[in-house]
Amino acid sequence: MNQLKSASQRTPRAGAVSLAIKLVPWLVAFCLPLVVDGNTSGNFAYCLVWAFCAVGLAAMWGYGGILSFGQTAFFGMSGYTYGIVTLNLGESWISSWAGLVVGLLVSVVAAALIGYMIFYGRIKGVFIGIVTLSVTLVLETFMAQTAGPQWAIGAARLNGYNGMGDMPQLTIPWPGGPLTLENASFYYLVLALLFVVYWVTRKMLDGTFGLALVAIRENPQRAEMLGIDIRRHQLLIFVFGCTLGGLSGALYTIWGSYITPSTMGLTSAAMPVIWVATAGRKSIGGAILGTALLVWLSQYLAIYGSQYALILMGAILLIVVLFAPEGLLPFVLKLMRSLATRPQTPRRHGPRDAFEAQKGE
């Protein structure tokens, strides 16, 4: 399945249908808060908050071939930074937005440093995963023992496994007094951000940058001989992907006014991989949809019997890896396509047929 579609390939009608299909989920998402209450909107926002992390991983892994176990590390970094900044600067709307921006910057810088070490140090393949996993573990180990009062940055105590909490939420200046973005308003903020991120990511990956990434992934030697600077491309997509992980972290912290080291743990690090592997890592839209659904599913299960949620997640991942390594959505689509194009004429079975069948594979 060619993941980079050229517009000239599609007929105008097919193009319009495809565009409509792409827009429908956005329209549905836009209308949701109108039909449910504030609390439920807030819950939907929670599901969407994780989508950035998934988009980042899909871009890195599906396009760049970089399997990073470190999304949760940046999640934590940006989340804690938001807490530190807002707990120190106070309740004003400037403080909250500064927290978000600084949180993202922290992820950008950290990702650039780590990425530089990885890609310009010519680390390849699974060892990228190992290094990112080590970073995540270092961070978690470190944060876990910050429970004592001496571990504080300004007015913000890091608090170890007790978690950092009570930080102010995002507010915007408003005629009658600052407006806190929560429930439906927060949901719309997240949705808007998601749309922007989706559009930017698509633009980037559908153009020559994405083309170069696919080339690097499929035949790095040949790509280099085309004049493509592999390390620069990999570093860029890495920083992009990790920063999106950070965005998820900051939004998560804003949503719940709370963050703990367990969001950076080994189990949490598996979650983005599960969502993206299941939804299909080569599809950005699929990653968003799949993540939202899987997060919603785990929340639902958590209400009705939490222990099974993680087992189910693990089982889903295992099944996907074994039987649908391209992802569930692409697998289902392929299945539907093959069912739709079944030949109508009767076949005579003979050695020639078997040979033809084999060639068709």
Partner: protein
Amino acid sequence: MTTLSLLYSLIYQFGDNFAYLVLAALGLAVIFGMMGVINLAHGEFIMCGAYVTIITAKHGVPLPLAMLLGAVAAAIAGVIIERLVIRHLYDRLFDSVVATWAISLIVQQTMLLVAGPSLEGIGTPFGSFSLGEYSFSTYRAVLPGIALGILFALYWLFFKTNYGVCARATIQNAKIAQCLGLRTDRLYTLTFALGAGLAGLTGALYAPTMTAVPTMGSNFIVQAFVSVVVGGANVIAGTTPAAGILALIQTGLTASYGQLFGQIGLLVTVIVVIRLMPQGLGNLFTRSR
């Protein structure tokens, strides 16, 4: 006298760290060295060995036998997992990492459900002895010796037995080994079982020293892959000296700055080593099968 006891205390610490690193790494190294598979479910085999040991010991089985049962149980689990899952993924090594991670998650959470958050341990045997103002656990002082014993046994296995020759041939060139009539698929199953069994043995050996929790594997797995990454997959010539060096670093840092920095020091060492020797360690992974 106090300097002597201080010195011994450091040696004891070193030995303790060394044993932990080596024992934690063995199973992972064997599987990685043979098949290039990074088995993220390694910790769960350790847990399996520990749980079986504790449960059988509580039912009156003598401790050494209980430990053996723990190792065997883990080995059997290894065979099952290899046949059901891993063998489909030898041409997709990236996916095998993700798959073993999934298995790890499933097993951990299932154990949590089935066995509860913790299992009361069995006491550490042999009591303790003291030197100067420090007191040491006899059992843990002996563990490094046991670890070395296991290493010797592995050396004998890989270099003096038929299995060993076949295994090393397959590691070096699987295709030619097949052409020579070696049943590589059976070899892989056996080796995976060996790796799992070694992990189970580690769990069994440490069972008397800790409370068994379903997530206990996570503690070991960090040490395990630190040793394997630094030392390479060659169990004898790589993992052992790596464990030695790492134990030195860890002991030194812990003595000066505390447990946490010892742990962080290990992880930083991994990153530094990978950065400095990407070719050497990378070659191990890009092996033709």
